[in-house]
């Protein structure tokens, strides 16, 4: 019995010291003088602009990766074609790869005077969009692939024998089966897109009030010794993260605890 409590204490203690205490402390520091100063700090023009940039990046990257994710999962699971193995492997790469490397790679391809370079991609919004898409690309694919495997092809075949076209079959049979997995993938993609820092940092050029997303703004405030501004912006992102967590818990396929 003592062993059980010791284990519980160790696990929960580790979580408390590593996660709960630091995050809780930042919340406390942000609001220790009331909501007023925090509100002022996140409503400066630069902060609002940074928030807008972050929302734009997310609003482009998430739909793009959702459509791609579903199509790519269908390609991986339902079709056999040369190169399927490579696609399957490459899709996972952004999960394991340093975002800085992703940023450098995009810079070297789309930068001024590079292969596909041109004015206005790197050190501008389009480059940041590409970087955000890169790092948040695998999530929808990874959630949808196992579900597609699990449901098999029998229902789709039944629909075909009943006269449904490929598109009708997708809409009426396949999609209802994968929509929750897709939704879960969308939540993960959104969380990653909102919080991306490394890759965006490399390709943005960090022009305050222009190409600064909220995460870049936090770093900028902190190194400029404006901890109030940094904490307040961090709390905004942390709150978004918590909304994400709640959605994740709601949508997650039941496993783990009973």
């Amino acid at each position: 019995m003592i062993g059980k409590y010791a284990l519980r204490l160790a696990s929960l203690g580790y979580l408390a010291v590593l996660l709960v205490a630091p995050v809780g402390f930042v919340f406390w520091r942000t609001f220790e003088h009331g909501v007023g100063p925090a509100w002022d700090a996140v409503t400066t023009p630069d902060a609002l602009h940074a928030l807008k940039v972050t929302l734009i990046l997310t609003a482009i990257a998430v739909p793009a990766n959702t459509v791609f994710g579903v199509l790519c999962a269908l390609a991986i699971v339902r079709h056999r074609y040369p190169g399927a193995g490579i696609v399957n492997a490459v899709v996972d790469l952004p999960l394991a790869l340093s975002p800085v490397v992703a940023g450098v790679a995009l810079l070297l391809l789309y930068g001024r005077g590079r292969w596909l370079g041109g004015h206005g991609i790197v050190f501008a919004l389009p480059g940041m969009v590409l970087a955000t898409i890169f790092v948040s690309l695998p999530f929808v694919v990874r959630e949808v692939v196992p579900v597609l495997r699990e449901i098999g092809t029998e229902q789709e075949q039944a629909a075909a024998t009943l006269g449904a076209s490929g598109f009708q079959t997708f809409l009426r049979v396949t999609w209802p089966a994968i929509r929750w997995a897709t939704a879960y993938g969308v939540v993960l993609t959104t969380a990653r897109a909102l919080g991306e820092f490394g890759a965006v940092s490399v390709v943005s050029g960090r022009l305050v009030g222009q190409t600064e997303s909220l995460t870049l703004y936090i770093q900028d405030r902190y190194v400029s010794f404006d901890t109030t501004g940094a904490y307040a912006a961090a709390v905004v992102l942390a709150l978004l993260a918590m909304v994400t967590l709640i959605l994740m818990t709601r949508l997650k396929p039941k496993e783990g605890t009973q």
Binding site: E154, Q155, Q157, A158, A159, A160, T161, L162, G163, A164, S165, Q168, R172, V173, P176, A177
Partner: protein, 317 residues
């Protein structure tokens, strides 16, 4: 009328169908019978358009459909594991084919009501497949396939996933359904009793080829070869001759043509008794007798009897 001509289908190195030709007459109920891996399910899927043959042709009612997708063939297909649309109610499952075809609502309503009545699921229309038993799900699968008035109805081991009692009920019910609708029907099964019970014609398949096509009785009485003989019923093999257990007569005294054997085991199966025998040379055979016969002979374990075949078959190789 379904005509399949010279169908070849390979999966990698494995030849599932090795030049198979089968005719299914309009209005018949034909069974494709064979062990697993014999190609029967593949043939059915080729007819439905779910598999593309590597060679050969399929025609339905005289129209060559070999290159047509399943959507345009007008077949109804019933799957072994039901393939129920899990997120739709029973009603929506059955209505699917009609909804896809954008039929008027009143027509859909009338047709689905009719079909649910036919398969005795009227009270369960609002349930989801997960709330049904296996037998109910398969009846739903049948109603769904029948909803679009298919030219032919194809059933792939439809009762394979059900327990023995439900299987028997459903196949009697399927036979009755066929007698009412006369839809040209093909049923795939590995169960010879099921095939004999339900079908007018049985196509026996083995290793990607057709061994014999005949009505059930002819198949049993005049099997074309050793494989068919042993697949459609129990059989004793004595050298080159094959004898069904009910064609074995047991005598207490030897006469010219009898062979000596010892009773090893008596298995009581209700009205019938299976007598397991072993000969001097160690070969075993079984005889099927009525209870009365066993009582008259006063058979006992270890007793010596004399075996006489009343009917035997020798295949010219």
């Amino acid at each position: 009328m379904i005509e399949a001509r010279g169908i070849v289908k390979r999966f990698g190195d494995f030849t599932a169908l090795d030049g198979v030709s089968v005719d299914v007459p309009t209005g018949s109920l034909t069974a494709l019978l064979g062990p697993s891996g014999s190609g029967k399910s593949t043939l059915l899927r080729v007819v439905a358009g779910l598999e593309q043959p590597d060679a050969g042709e399929v025609s339905l009612d005289g129209e060559d459909v070999t290159r047509l997708p399943p959507q345009s063939r007008g077949v109804g297909f019933v799957f072994q594991h039901y393939a129920a649309f899990k997120h739709m109610t029973v009603w929506d499952n059955v209505a699917f084919g009609l909804t896809i075809r954008r039929r008027p609502r009143s027509e859909i309503k009338q047709r689905v009501t009719e079909l649910l009545d036919l398969v005795q699921l009227s009270g369960l229309a609002k349930r989801y497949p997960a709330q049904l038993s296996g037998g109910q799900r398969q009846r739903m699968g049948l109603a769904r396939a029948l909803a679009v008035d298919p030219k032919v109805l194809l059933l792939d081991e439809p009762f394979g996933a059900l327990d023995a009692r439900v299987r028997k009920e459903l196949r009697i019910w399927l036979r009755r359904l066929h007698d009412e609708t006369h839809t040209t029907t093909v049923i795939v099964t590995h169960d010879q009793e099921e095939a004999m019970d339900v079908a007018d014609r049985v196509v026996v398949m083995n290793a990607g080829r057709v061994e014999q096509t005949a009505p059930p009785r002819e198949l049993y009485d005049h099997p074309a070869n050793e494989f068919v003989m042993s697949f459609v019923g129990p059989v004793n093999r004595l050298g080159d001759t094959f004898i069904r257990p009910h064609d074995v007569e047991l005598l207490l005294e030897p006469n010219g043509s009898t062979q000596e054997a010892m009773v090893q085991r008596l298995v009581h199966l209700g009205f019938e008794v299976r007598v397991e025998l072993v000969r001097d040379d160690g070969e075993t055979l079984s005889a099927q007798l009525t209870r009365e016969q066993v009582e008259t002979l006063e058979l006992q374990h270890g007793q010596i009897v004399y075996v006489r075949p009343t009917h035997q078959t020798v295949f010219a190789d």
